[in-house]
């Protein structure tokens, strides 16, 4: 096998940081293979990727030592544009990385910079447009495309000048399950059929593991280990708390060798099924919010159409569905900030929208997708005090809630230095300081790694025990399976299915929780008795 990327003694530390993010790494990547780079948030997987095309150290301040050989030539420390003809790079947010306006111009941009002749450009554009299914879209403005289409354009643009190496930094983070799946299949195809070497950094790895040829785990202490086989991966992941459900199930059942995908796990389960104790969830609490016939429209488009739901005290309801199915609009309408038709009533019979924003927080609180937008002061302590004062609550009320959600965190820290999970907890605490009984969360797991998600699940369970009625909008099926009592499936704004989690989640077929696909009787690993 030809090693197309060889990393030798590579170290990187950010200026001001005490310990290096990467410490003397030695890794090799073979040509035409699909490699996964995973690790918790902030572990350095994206740093590793960026060191391969020069974005590290040139687009962040720090010290890089060691060598990176691409096709035998040393490139570490070179400028990104000096490596551009060899390595294509795709970011999390394609719309932020687009340089031009239309698909055609975007495809041409990289080639123009590299000085490829116009005839060759035209030939390549038509070939790549066909390969990536973009032929119909060439004249379209980039901002009119769906997230999945935008990522396809980004990948095509990264490879169109003949680059044989593709680096992707969490490309699926803004995509729904279906688009993400399509994208991963495309990447596998690129490596298998076109011989492209693909390095993919991801922390949501449950749908990726059985597609890739190797897994590199970046541990967060500067070290990294690479595994090519299932047993190797088992060892790498075992002392690590970031396993997807199917691996967790395999580890709990003690299967050897450890199955990496649903098919393998299903075979092992069918051979010797474990016993399952399905959870019972039958919310019987007081009805805290009742919505009937809610419709939201933007101009002529109907975003939410005739949705009715009830939220009971001490329950968690999840709204699931692809991007653009109306989940967010529904949440904002229920909270009262977005105009709608139909009726929404709180426990006392009033409509949330009839209260002033301040008074509304006594009844209902919403945590938006970018939770950090709500954080504005210079330290956690200031945020907490401001929240108490504003809520008219006793000193320390918000701090108490925050501590119960996130544990002890130095209150002098700047809110923007917190991890996404900690920021979410802080915003949740602030929003709950006025004692709202109904809590709405929009995509709370976005950007969270397994550990942070697990913590969030525990926090939500606590709030549930306090008797709150919780509604989350999410496309993270595994998280929904872990926390939700009731699930409502939205498609194009309408309710496609609604009922208890055990009734609705299995109907998602290929996108249902992995443990369900294996066992057909349990939704999560905790329901399975080893």
């Amino acid at each position: 096998m030809v090693e197309v990327i060889s990393i030798r003694d590579l170290s990187f530390s950010f200026t001001d940081a005490e310990s290096p993010v990467l410490r003397r790494l030695n890794l090799d990547y073979e040509q035409g293979k699909f490699a996964l780079v995973c690790g918790p948030t902030g572990s350095g997987k994206s740093t590793l990727l960026r060191a391969l095309n020069g974005l590290i150290p040139h687009h962040s301040s720090g010290l890089l030592t060691g060598e990176v050989f691409i096709d035998g030539v040393q490139f570490a420390g070179k400028q990104p544009h000096e490596v551009a003809h060899l390595v294509g790079f795709v970011n999390q947010q394609p719309e932020g990385a687009f340089v031009t306006d239309t698909v055609l111009e975007e495809l041409a941009y990289g080639m123009e910079q590299l000085g490829i002749s116009e005839t060759q450009m035209r030939e390549r554009i038509s070939r790549f447009a066909a390969l990536f299914g973009l032929s119909e879209l060439l004249e379209k403005p980039l901002d009119s495309l769906s997230g999945g289409q935008q990522q396809r354009v980004a990948i095509a643009s990264a490879l169109i000048a003949g680059q044989q190496i593709l680096l992707l930094d969490e490309p699926t983070s803004a995509l729904d399950v279906e688009s993400a799946h399509q994208l991963l299949l495309l990447l596998k195809d690129l490596s298998r059929k076109q011989g492209i070497t693909v390095l993919l950094a991801e922390h949501r790895i449950e749908r990726v593991l059985d597609l890739v040829d190797s897994v590199t785990v970046v541990h967060g202490d500067g070290s990294a280990s690479k595994a090519m086989t299932a047993t190797g991966l088992d060892a790498v992941l075992r002392n690590y708390k970031m396993v997807p459900p199917v691996i967790e199930l395999g580890q709990k059942m003690g299967w050897q060798p450890l199955p990496l995908n649903v098919a393998g796990a299903k075979a092992a389960w069918d051979g010797k099924p474990g016993s399952v104790q399905p959870r019972v969830s039958n919310p019987t609490g007081e009805r805290l919010l009742q919505a009937a016939g809610v419709c939201v429209s933007y101009g002529n488009t109907l975003a939410v159409s005739d949705v009715s739901l009830e939220l009971a005290a001490g329950s968690i309801t999840a709204v699931v569905g692809p991007n653009g199915s109306g989940k967010s609009s529904l949440l904002w309408a229920l909270q009262g900030s977005l105009g709608f038709s139909g009726s929404v009533n709180l426990a006392d019979g009033s409509t949330p929208g009839s209260h002033s924003p301040q008074l509304r927080l006594k009844h209902i609180a919403l945590v938006p997708q970018n939770a950090s937008d709500l954080l504005v002061l210079g330290s956690i302590a200031q945020e907490l005090a401001d929240s108490d004062e504003f809520a008219g609550a006793a000193r320390g009320t918000t701090a108490e809630i925050f501590r119960s959600l996130a544990g002890r965190i130095d209150p002098s820290r700047h809110p923007r230095d917190l991890s996404s999970g900690q920021q979410l907890a802080l915003v949740l605490a602030i929003q709950l300081a006025k004692g709202a009984a109904v809590v709405l969360l929009d995509e709370p797991t976005r950007g969270l790694d397994y550990e942070a998600k697990r913590k969030l699940a525990v926090q939500l369970a606590e709030l549930k025990d306090f008797g709150k009625a919780i509604l989350i909008a999410s496309h993270d099926v595994e998280f929904v399976a872990a926390v939700a009592d009731i699930v409502m499936l939205l498609r194009k704004g309408s309710v496609a299915a609604s009922g208890s989690a055990t009734e609705v989640l299995p109907t998602l077929a290929d996108h249902s929780p992995q443990v369900w696909q294996v066992t057909h009787s349990a939704l999560t690993v905790s329901e399975v008795l080893a």
Partner: protein, 306 residues
């Protein structure tokens, strides 16, 4: 056209300019951009005219020698022994001056609106010579940042309202921090993306040539800026302005030629100049030519534009 508007004092001419800008927006702007653009810029232009007129009505230094248009009860307010008059007789000339001033500003606003709505800063990039490419990129990115800033601002405002806090001045910092963080992040992402795709590659160019090219384009820009100022200020003899203009353009040309030799960048020609583009170009050039003629001493000073 905005340039033309700033030079003219003729109400009919200004009105025509404004109408032309609106017409161009209506015909050629993308349908989804047309509505909001017309509303925002139209309101702004109208507001400017009204404010200008209101100022003339409220603070008029009543000069009895002038023909009076309308008479309002005069209000005299004495502060610290100084009496100021408000309202009272409003001279016709003063009103007309106010209207002209307002129209001028309105025409400038609408001209800028037209350029902003019809033209696209990113398209500008495609038609800049390669020596100016880096400057043009910076400009295009900066222009692009404005609408993104608005989007972030709306998102953050909505989020802040969730917290129940008012969007008062005390919270302005709170509103700005996430927005700035957003836009800085976007710019960094864009820069990283452009760099990763080869932006900034160049052929072999000696240090001296590179430095010369940079200097030439720098002086060219400074020269153009000064010439532009002189054109508007018109306090200096016309020939100096013209000389400076020619010199600046010459420097520019040199820098373009120097860089073009060593540039490796290629272009995919996509832009078919449409009828619309030609019309916009024609209209603008015509206006500028008319004005240039007007500026020439002896022809324009007492010409119909004054």
């Amino acid at each position: 056209m905005a340039l033309a508007a700033s030079l003219s004092h003729n109400q009919i001419f200004l009105g025509t300019l404004a109408a032309l800008s609106i017409a161009i927006i209506c015909v050629f702007a993308a349908p989804e951009k047309r509505g909001p653009a017309l509303r925002i810029y139209g309101l702004l232009a109208l507001a400017v005219i009204i404010i200008r007129l209101a100022f003339r009505v409220v603070f008029n230094n009543a000069d009895s020698s002038l023909e009076t248009a309308l008479t309002l009860p005069q209000v005299n307010i004495t502060i610290l022994g100084q009496t100021t008059h408000y309202f009272g007789a409003v001279p016709q000339l003063s009103l007309i001056e106010g209207l002209t001033d307002g129209l001028r500003l309105a025409a400038i606003i609408l001209g800028v609106a037209m350029a902003n709505t019809v033209a696209n800063p990113r398209k500008l990039l495609r038609s800049t010579p390669s020596a100016l490419y880096e400057v043009a990129t910076a400009a295009a990115v900066a222009i692009n940042l404005a609408p993104q800033l608005l989007v972030s601002l709306q998102r953050v405002r909505k989020a802040r309202a969730l917290r129940g806090t008012s969007t008062s001045l005390r919270n302005l910092g709170g509103l700005l921090i996430p927005v700035l963080e957003d836009s800085i992040q976007r710019s960094l992402d864009l820069a990283a993306s452009m760099d990763s795709r080869g932006f900034g590659r160049r052929g072999v160019m000696s240090r001296r040539t590179a430095a010369m090219s940079r200097l030439a384009s720098l002086f060219g820009i400074v020269g153009l800026a000064i010439a532009g100022y002189l054109l508007l200020a018109t306090a200096v003899a016309a020939w100096i302005t013209v000389l400076l203009l020619v010199l600046a353009l010459g420097l520019f040309y040199t820098s373009v030629r120097l860089s073009a030799i060593h540039s490796i960048r290629t272009r995919l020609t996509i832009e078919k100049r449409r009828l619309a583009d030609y019309l916009v170009l024609l209209a603008s050039t015509l206006v500028v030519i008319v004005l240039a003629v007007n500026q020439i001493p002896g022809v324009g000073t007492n010409g119909w534009l004054k």
